[in-house]
Symmetry: C2
Subunit: 193 residues, 2 copies
């Protein structure tokens, strides 16, 4: 069963150990922020810092694992058509739109959408860490350290598949920031098998 | 008053808004992991993801601010002799030594040292995020994404000074990982003015 996350919104759902999550970019050039919390104890959460350290790499693809803050493997990438995602930045938020875009009436962003979707699972906004930002195309200049957010490399129908290595609560968005998705808000599709 | 953090250990202390924290590498090529929590509510903590996003840069120096997970400025770098620090990796831990070094009886690392030092302030280990790793020299290849931990660029006596923009609890270490400090455990000195 295919689920749709409408433009600028988010969803949360459970994913059992051994299940696979397929995230599809139906229109192309759209980003989806992914969070994962351990169902047994939601204080265990994906950790960019642990994952990048253990992989010695900032870009992830097949068959890379995503580690938790307790150094356990939460998810593993088992299929990846696009091969470019971001694991450096936090979800866009009211503050992102205020600070980076100068908006006077800022949208709640992926952060607000994730916080709302995760609230029924008892997960507080302060528990939202750096997300694994699917299809997000961030370049890094190794000399100056400059980051740039580029249009995603994903084309319509491109997908990534992740397999759960523990029982999880997943947060997932259709990204709300124009910089991330080349200036047009689009939906995200996902499926759990 | 100059304080010494002995090799492979850590400390925690308060820093008032307007006060300056000077961290000195007394022997050269040593790393110090820095954490900051808001004293008013320790659920507010430094955020690599917010800071790198708002700066559009992975390397920080004068006069860069360090943002919290709530997008408030916690600290600002006001003096920086070395100019190279890391804000990508979590503190080294038992798991780091197990996974990266293959140690059978792993040290608790900066993570364990920070957890112990922060416990009297009611801060749980799961609340430890990516640290701002002073003097840590991590290179990033922008094409492959490969990370490498190199010897710090700090020479004996080099310092960094940060000013608090809110009342804080600081966690600080003399790093426990041989990769980070060019193979020799050394102390760290600090001062609060």
């Amino acid at each position: 069963m295919l689920h749709e996350i409408p433009p600028r919104s988010g969803a949360a759902f459970t994913l059992d150990r051994g299940q696979r999550l397929t995230v599809i970019d139906p229109c192309g050039e759209q980003v989806s922020d992914l969070l994962a919390f351990a169902r047994a104890d939601t204080d265990e959460v994906i950790s960019s810092g642990r994952t990048l350290d253990y992989l010695s790499r900032i870009f992830l693809t097949v068959p890379d694992p995503i580690y938790s803050n307790r150094s356990n493997i939460m998810l593993r990438i088992v299929e990846d058509v696009v091969g470019r995602h971001d694991f450096l930045l936090t979800p866009c938020s009211q503050d992102t739109f205020r600070i980076i875009y100068g908006d006077t009436d800022p949208h709640r962003g992926c952060f607000g959408n994730l916080a709302a979707a995760l609230a029924p699972y008892g997960i507080a906004p302060d528990r939202i860490p750096v997300a694994f930002n699917l299809f997000m195309h961030v370049t890094v200049d190794g000399t100056s350290g400059t980051l740039a957010v580029r249009p995603p490399l994903s084309k319509a129908g491109d997908r990534i598949v992740l397999e759960a290595e523990m029982d999880l609560i997943i947060g997932l968005t259709a990204c709300s920031a124009l910089q991330s998705n080349n200036g047009r808000f689009k939906p995200i599709h996902y499926r759990v098998d």
